[in-house]
Symmetry: C2
Subunit: 270 residues, 2 copies
Amino acid sequence: MNQSAPIGVFDSGIGGLTVVREILGHMPSEGVVYLGDTARVPYGIRSPETIKRYAREGIRFLLAEGIKFLVIACNTVSAVGLDDISSDIDVPVVGVLEPGAKAAAESTENGKVGVIGTAATIKSRSYIRAIRAFRGDVEVEARACPLFVPLVEEGWLDGEVPELAASKYLGGLKSKGIDTLVLGCTHYPLLKPVISRVMGPEVKLIDSAAETAREVSSQLAARGLESAGGKTPLRKFYVTDSPEGFTAVGERFLGAAIENIKKVQLEVIR
Amino acid sequence: MNQSAPIGVFDSGIGGLTVVREILGHMPSEGVVYLGDTARVPYGIRSPETIKRYAREGIRFLLAEGIKFLVIACNTVSAVGLDDISSDIDVPVVGVLEPGAKAAAESTENGKVGVIGTAATIKSRSYIRAIRAFRGDVEVEARACPLFVPLVEEGWLDGEVPELAASKYLGGLKSKGIDTLVLGCTHYPLLKPVISRVMGPEVKLIDSAAETAREVSSQLAARGLESAGGKTPLRKFYVTDSPEGFTAVGERFLGAAIENIKKVQLEVIR
């Protein structure tokens, strides 16, 4: 495997850029090729079968770009079918679910953890299984929050509407006395202030982007795949719908300029 | 053209069933084949180019079903490219935009009309052009309401969250003194009580589903394409993602049972 090859990052849309941000923060000399399937986003409202097909189509594209390592930066894909999808891939694969689940299992003191995510993520029960795999005695309460993604996309990150929506979604979790809440969707960290206000300061929020970047870093090291540095590392962004719109919002997620961006049409798997 | 052939109805998802409901109410002996592109819904957040490609793929499928008439029951598709899409189709085509625009131009007394819809619909300015084509002196104020579709899909049709969202979106339209508001998205009629409460009883709401059904009826008559009746008319529903979920919500939109439903994968146009 070529150490100078880039890391591939796949997401259903724009949210995975928060993971790229953490990767670049931890490993600035690594190259990154990002694919956001913006022509078919959001995935969280679709069936597992369709989500897995879309993910396979995106991953095939990234593999053809010559990546050395694959990050599935989408909680929905990580939750419904990482095992199915990654079984026949010849580069190491990391999703965002395991690192977040591990952090939650390590963080909780009272053994009560909450998880929020898209409808597909919560329905899969993957977070519950993953957290319990790290620590069997943890009680996990899960809740889908379908309006959070549209709220973030609309830029309504603060104010009465997100606050009321958060109260409706999170009231039940709060009353269970959880001390740790996994933000199981890459959009949700942008609602952190609102979520934190509703849950109270005693509840720790787990953002899987940072946890995932740490996992990527340690796996690259363990496999001897770290970039040796030297020339300017690759930054390449692909989207399946028009880059217009993506760039402006994407730069807010990434915390940096998006320059090398291109629209592609994915090959369909029948 | 075969009078006993069904009417084809295309939509990005589930909302077009409100149009089917009106068609079946007005013309119960007509057969209907519906296609909802649920694997790629929503269209209103995408670029015109992608919306037109998706619509072409869906329409090609419906034409192969042997339809005699095509209804584009999606405001976004009707707004961004009905002319482009329908130019090479050999059956008559009706969208939901013209009938709603005509009804608004006829309804307004003070010459001030509001239009609400998805981001793509409003950005296209098609409603403004269409209303002015019917009556040149009408002032049209348009506003995108991106959260309305997710609110309806989530089933939050009443209560504080939709009420506050409606106040945020509609405040500007209200202050312009409009007397007519076009609900330029097939999801919006389900929010009618909330929208009406925010706008006040003096503002007339135009729901294009009923107007479109009237237009279909009069065009079928004018072209001698009306069904002669007799045998039980066809009711067939196709979706591109799992029918599970679609059926339950769809029956609320349709006001009737959905029985003959099947998942299909559309041929991609490159």
